[in-house]
Each structure stands twice: as C-alpha cells, then as structure tokens.
C-alpha cells in the first residue's frame, strides 16, 4: 500500500501462490485420471498352461487339472481366495459372466475348506470347478502376483490374456471380447 510504482509488480507476485496451486491441482487431476500401473504382467501370456492337477476345494465342485482347458472352448481361469476382499467385490461380475455362458474355473489360494464354503455361500458360486492351491504352486506357475487375477485361456489351453485386480462392471464386455478373440485364435492355431 505504499507506493504506486511498485504495486503492479507486487500484484503479479501475489498471484503466484494461486498459480502454483493451479499447477498442482492439474497434476493431481491428471494423476487421478491415470492411476499408476505398477503391475508386473505375467510373461506367460501366449504360452500354454503348465501341467497341474489340483484337488477339489469345495464339496460340490470337482478339482481342476490342465486337461480341463483343452476342450476347444475358451474359458476363464479365476485366481481367488475367501480372505480377499476384492474377490468378494468381483463376485457379481463373475456371476454375470457365468450367466452369459462363459465357463469359469477357479483356483482358491491358501484357503481353508470351511472358509471357502462360507465365501461361496455368501457370494455365489459361478465356478465349474475349483482347484485347491495351498502352496501357490499354480499361482506362481502362471505368473500371477496376487489375488484376484483372471486369465483368458483359449480352447487349446494357451493363456491369451491376464486381468490383474478385481473385475469391475465395465470390464465384463472387455473380457467377453477377449474370450471371443481367444475362440478365433484357438481355432486357428
């Protein structure tokens, strides 16, 4: 308030904090729109499933073996666990996929039968078969780094796509597309 000549310069400096904050805000918005992707993608995409034969994890579903994937029809392989919160969150989406005629196979990681039974009772059971993987053998063999993860396997038992994290409602059409793609590839090869 002292001198007229220095006022304009002072004014400019005054806008600086607001401008810096605007820049920060833009950066934050950008960061939110594009969440950092720190996932390690499986290097097994494009390779055939490794050999495995898991015992049944639930009373009313058979166990899971590699041979189940060589039927000519593409399938989903869902790696999950009853102790995993996002696995419960993706249950409706898996149910929707099963409704749409997709065969969903499950691998339960590090789970107890009674916990798993409760989980399936609460969240529904979209699985055709559930293998019990207590030592994470299959999980590691297919390059899965956490739960849940969902793989698209073509009719020849080759891994075509890996989805890391829970399946959200808007992922369902994408997965159906991947399955269709896998069907044409699996038939071609």
């Amino acid at each position: 308030m002292s001198d007229n000549t220095e006022k304009p310069r002072n004014r400019l400096a005054l806008w600086l904090p607001l401008a810096i904050f605007g820049g920060l805000f833009a950066l934050f918005v950008h960061g939110l729109m594009r969440p950092a992707d720190n996932n390690v993608p499986s290097t097994f995409v494009g390779n055939p499933l490794p050999q495995f034969d898991l015992p049944a994890a639930a009373a009313d579903r058979p166990g899971l073996a590699t041979s189940a994937f060589r039927t000519g029809k593409p399938r989903l392989l869902n790696v999950f666990a009853s102790w995993c919160v996002p696995c419960a969150a993706e249950a409706p989406q898996l149910a929707a996929l099963a409704q749409a005629g997709v065969d969903v196979e499950g691998v339960a990681i590090h789970d107890r039968p009674e916990d798993l039974a409760r989980f399936l009772a609460n969240n529904g059971n979209p699985y055709a078969a559930i293998g019990r993987d207590d030592k994470r053998v299959v999980q590691i063999a297919i390059g899965s780094s956490g739960v849940p993860e969902t793989y698209v396997i073509d009719g020849q038992g080759v891994i075509r796509y890996q989805h890391i994290g829970d399946i959200r409602a808007d992922d369902v059409p994408m997965l159906l597309g991947k399955l269709k793609e896998a069907a044409s590839k699996g038939a071609g090869s």
């Binding site: 607001l18 918005v29 939110l32």
Partner: protein, 654 residues
C-alpha cells in the same frame, strides 16, 4: 443400535456445522449482528456430538460388532483389545471420522477459550472452521460412512494388515492427526483475519498457541513414526523419504516457519502478509498430504485401501478450501497494511531467512515427492529416494541451522556486532564455530571414508549444541521465562537429532551372515552368537524366535530375541527386529529365512548414537511444550489477576 446412534449424531453435528457457518457469515453483516451470539455455543455442541459419534465407533470395534461393514473388514474377534481400539482409525473411514472429530473438538476449544481476539475475527474464524468441517462431513456421510451395516452379519472379521498390528499404530496416527488438523485452526484464523482485515499482534497472540500445539503433536508424531518404522519394518533405516513420511514432514516444515513468523508478528507487528500466507500453507500441506496418501496416486507403506473416487472427493475439498483461501489471500492481502520494518542484521531478518529456507526445503520435498507423478504423465516410471532428498535438502538446511545459532542472540529491529555486542554475540559464536571447524577437520583427517554430508552434519551439530544455550548466558536462570527455555531446549534438540543422524550415516556397521547355531560374528565392537531357535505363538500369530547372545567389547553378554512372525488373520509375515541400546548406540538384529543348507540368514547393524535422533526429536517437542506451558501460565496469571481486580472492585463498590 449403536451404529445407528453414531450415524444420527454425526448427521446432527453436520447440521450444526452448517448452522455455525451460516450464523457466522450473517453475523459479519451489520444487520445480522445478533446471530453472533449463536456461533460459540453451536461450535461447542458440534464438538460434543462428534465426540459421541467417535465413541460409538470405538465401541463397535471393541465389541467386534460383525454386522458393521467397517469392523468386519478391519477387525477380528481374536485381536488383542488395544489393536481392536487402534483398528478404529487404522482404516480410511475411521481415520476420516477421527479427522472430523479432532477438527470439531479443536473448534469447540477455540470457542470456549479464546477471549482476547476481537469478536468479529473470532466469528469469522469459527465460520471458516465450520466451512472446512462441512466438506469433511459430506465426505464422511456420502462417500465413506463408517457406520454402514452389512445386509447379513459376517461370522468373523477379516483382520488387520500384520505390519500395522503394532503398538506404534495405536498412538502414532492419532498424534499426527491432532497435528494435521490442529493446523486447520491456524488456517481458519488466517481466513478470519483476512475476512475482517485484522492482521496484527492480537491475531498472532490468538493463533500462536494453536500453531504451537499442532506443531508439538506433529513433532512427536513424526519422531514416533520414524522410530516405529525403524524397529517394526526391520530394514534398519529411520527415514525413508516415503510419500507418507513426506506428507507429515511438509506440514511440519510449514508449521515450523509459521511458528517463528507468528512470534515476529506477535512481538514486533512485522511479517503480516507472510504469516497469513504460512497459515494457509501449513494446513494446505496437511490436506495435500492426506490427498496423496488416500488417493493412492503415490504408493506408500501406510496407504489405506483407497479408491479413485475418494481421491476425487478429497481433491475437490482441497480445491475448494485451498483454492478459496489462496484466492481470498490474493484479493485481500494488498489491503493488509505493511508491518513494522527492521534492518538486515536483526532477529527479524534471521527469522525471515529461516522461514525462507524452511520453505525452500518444503519446496524440495514437495517437488521430489511429486516428481514420479509428473514423469508418469509422460509415461516414464521413476522413483526418488535419499540420493536426491538428502543432499538437496541439506543445501537449504545447513545455512538455516547456522542462522538458527545466531538469530536468538540478535536484538529485535536492529543490531550490531561491535563494541559491547561483540562480547555478547560475536565472541561466543566464534568459539562455537571454532569447535565445529575442529570437529570437521578431525573427522576429515581421522576417518577418510566418511562422506561430506555426515561430516558436515557432525561438525554443525557440535557447534550448534553449545550455541543453542547462549541465549541463557547472562540471564537469571530462575527468572528466565518458560518460552525462552522452550526455544533453547528445542534448538538444542535439533542439534542432538542432527548429531544422531550424521553419526548413524557416518559410523554404521552392517553385517549380513548365514549362521549355524553356535556360530559367532563380529559386528563393529560387538560379538554376536546365534544360540538357538525356538517356535513361539501369540494370540493370532506364530513365530520363530532366535536367541542371539551379544557382547559389547568383552562385557557381559545379553540375549536378544529377534523373531519372524507369521500371521493367520489375514495371512502375512513380519520380521520383528531386536534392539540392544547402550548409551553410545544401538545394536539391531533381524532374523531372515533358513537357507537350504540349514543356516539362518541374519542381519546385524551397529549404529553409534542412533537413539539421539529420537531423543533430539523428543527434546524439540519438549521445547514446544515448555513454550506452550509458559503461555498458558501467563494467561492463567492474567485471568487470576483480572478476577482479583474485579473482586476488589465489587468489594469497594459495596
């Protein structure tokens, strides 16, 4: 029932906050003057109601009510009681409720206690506080309701991240939160003063204890958090420049600057606009930190289960609160008249220098924390760690610490270093500087392997420690006011902490070894021997426990028990380190895995003087406490004096 009660009370509190805002805004207009009387009681009531809501949530966790979603997701009936309670705020919803609770309770305190600030500014302040709170109420009630029920009660809870099942969790986050949110009071004061254009010593006097209080909690919270990371994570480090740590450091830097500029404003009526700006900045940093942690756009060990929608909500709050405050600042600050002037050699000038340096460090930390985010916009992934933060922040920190030694000795307004002042200021400081120089030369000649930064740190700390006591020289110690003691203790604490940091970085010895049972190793002056291995079990974990006997330079051996724990609910593992503390340092032992040949992997560190880091931090907090105590006592004394006068008057009147 309790959950519904909590939710209902929370809604009522939100309504009161709305009332507080409207009444406050109307009271500032000439026609709404009568409404002013409403603001204080409403603020108090709001605080009480939120406290009830928070108590309700704690109760739900203590009783493990498995029909409440939050409890199911974050607790387990087999958990020890202390972790059930800590589980209340160890998750997103609960911690936001804690945030609002502290905010409202602090607002209520202001309403009850603050009597010296002019009424209009106080009403504007409480209105501002209500405005910020309302945003967080909306966030809680619409986007993260902690009291939501499950359609069907679960049979068992899902537990708590094993890394977080630690006594540190019970006290660390709430301490930091009091600090973060306490700064919201400073923010509201700054807004109130901008609205009424009343920036002056009275405003500074009202604001200072709140800044001081928040700053004490931040200091202690950061110190405790650093120690927690040090002993729980088992990685031997005490500061990782992790985004969450930076999120707590940035408000502390801003609050430290604010604390000093507020005292200039209070005693000298200078730095008006700058103080207001720092008041806005300090709480802004708290909110930016909260956003960074909660939105998940940066990863960190403490991250809560986040989702982008919540991030968007916090970002919106951030934009409204900070953007609004900065816009208000820009528009109003030119009408804040300039304060008193001072010369380049004066206590004010030294405080300005420290303020600018603190803000420089703040900028360095902020840019470093956000850099991965910036490069990710271009698709490049980077991580920024100590190689950046340590030297670059030291460039600003070291000059600042030098001035910290000089500043308290200078006079307000204008000083000189000749004549009688030379004996009082120049010579004592020269002695301290010579001491620092001697230590530096000694370190450089005796230990060549020590890098420049720790060597400088050791030298600076040894000069700084005696220098911080110089303000007491020539004073009658029993009549020295408590705030001066507080300053001396806090500055000495900085020196102590710096010495610990530099020593840890300069002299640490690390040994990795695969040991068979009965085998021993040398770690610096220590001899360690693996005596045996034993399985142990806790309430919700099992563990392998090693017995390691340690001897310091031939003294009697002591036995340490590092553990590798396995948790069942949820599954997970944690390495519990074992520490052996001596006056001159700590031995740190971590148990790893068993190798194929049956040997046990172990990791040892000998860290000379490392406890000084946290001892110094505690001293800084204690210094703050002394200053606050001095203020509270002088307020009390004044109140009592006032009562006496009033009493005498009534007697005389009779």
């Amino acid at each position: 029932m309790i959950a519904e009660l909590g939710l209902a009370v929370l809604w009522m509190a939100a309504a009161l906050a709305a009332l507080q805002l409207v009444a406050g805004a109307l009271a500032l207009r000439p026609e709404g003057g009568q409404l002013g009387g409403l603001v204080r009681p409403v603020a108090v009531m709001q605080g009480v109601l939120v406290l009830i809501a928070f108590a309700a949530l704690v109760w739900l966790f203590v009783t493990t009510d498995l029909s409440v979603k939050l409890v199911v997701e974050n607790s387990h009936s087999a958990k020890p009681l202390i972790f059930k309670i800590a589980g209340t705020w160890g998750n997103h919803e609960g911690s936001m409720l804690l945030w609002v609770t502290i905010m409202a309770v602090a607002g209520a305190f202001v309403a009850v206690i603050e009597r010296r600030l002019d009424e209009r500014t106080l009403i504007a302040t409480l209105g501002g506080q209500a405005f910020i709170s309302l945003g967080f109420y909306a966030f809680l009630l619409f986007a993260s309701n902690p009291f939501a029920r499950l359609a069907q009660p679960a049979e068992e809870g899902q537990g708590l991240n094993p890394l977080l099942q630690d006594i540190g969790l019970a006290f660390h986050p709430p301490t930091l939160y009091v600090g973060y949110v306490g700064l919201s009071i400073a923010f509201s004061f700054a807004i109130g003063a901008l609205i009424t254009r009343n920036v002056g010593p009275a405003f500074a006097r009202a604001m200072r204890p709140w800044v001081l209080g928040a700053w004490i909690f931040l200091t202690l919270g950061i110190t405790a958090g650093s120690y927690w990371a040090y002993y729980t994570l088992g990685w031997g480090g005490w500061w990782f420049w992790d985004p969450v740590e930076n999120a707590s450091l940035m408000p502390w830097l801003a609050a430290t600057a604010l604390l000093h500029s507020v005292s200039v404003l209070q005693s000298r009526d200078a730095l008006r606009a700058w103080t207001v700006m720092l008041g806005v900045l300090a709480f802004s940093m708290s909110m930016v930190g909260t956003f960074l942690v909660r939105s998940g756009i940066l990863t960190s060990v403490h991250a809560f289960a986040v989702d982008p929608q919540r991030g968007a909500f916090i970002l919106a709050l951030l934009a409204i609160d900070i953007g609004g405050a900065l816009a208000l600042f820009t528009l109003r600050v030119s009408t804040v008249t300039e304060g008193a002037r001072f010369s380049l050699l004066s206590r004010e000038a030294s405080l300005v220098f420290n303020n600018v340096m603190l803000c420089g460090i703040l900028g360095i930390v902020l840019i470093g924390t956000l850099y991965p985010l910036m490069t990710e916009a271009y698709g490049v992934k980077v991580s920024v760690g100590p190689p950046y933060f340590n030297p670059v922040s030291a460039i600003f920190a070291f000059p600042m610490l030098v001035v910290m030694a000089i500043g308290p000795l200078l006079r307000w307004r204008r000083d000189r270093l000749t004549g009688d002042r030379a004996a009082r200021v120049t010579w004592p400081l020269a002695v301290c500087a010579a001491l620092a120089l001697a230590v530096f030369v000694g370190v450089e000649t005796l230990a060549h392997h020590i890098t420049l930064l720790p060597a400088l740190g050791l030298a600076l700390a040894s000069g700084l420690f005696p220098a911080s006591f110089l303000p007491l020289v020539g004073r009658n110690l029993r009549r020295t006011p408590l705030p001066v003691w507080g300053m001396v203790v806090a500055h000495a604490g900085i020196a102590v902490s710096l010495f610990g940091m530099a020593s840890e970085s300069a002299f640490s010895v690390e040994r990795l070894a695969a040991l068979t049972i009965g085998e021993s190793r040398d770690v610096g002056p220590w001899q360690v021997r693996l005596d045996g291995m034993m399985p142990v079990a806790g309430p919700n974990w099992t563990a392998l426990q090693a017995s390691v006997s340690t001897r310091y330079a031939g003294a009697a051996p002591t036995v340490l028990h590092p553990m590798a724990e396995t948790f069942t609910n949820p599954p997970g593992t944690r390495n519990e380190s074992a520490l052996q503390t001596r006056w001159n340092g700590q031995l740190y032992v971590v148990l790893g895995e068993q190798a194929q040949d049956g040997r046990w992997q172990m990791r040892f560190w000998w860290k000379p003087f490392v406890p000084l880091i946290w001892a110094g931090g505690a001293m800084v907090g204690l210094g703050g406490l002394l200053a606050l105590l001095g203020r509270v006592m002088s307020d009390l004394r004044r109140l009592i004096a006032k009562d006496k006068i009033a009493y005498r008057r009534t007697r005389q009147g009779r």
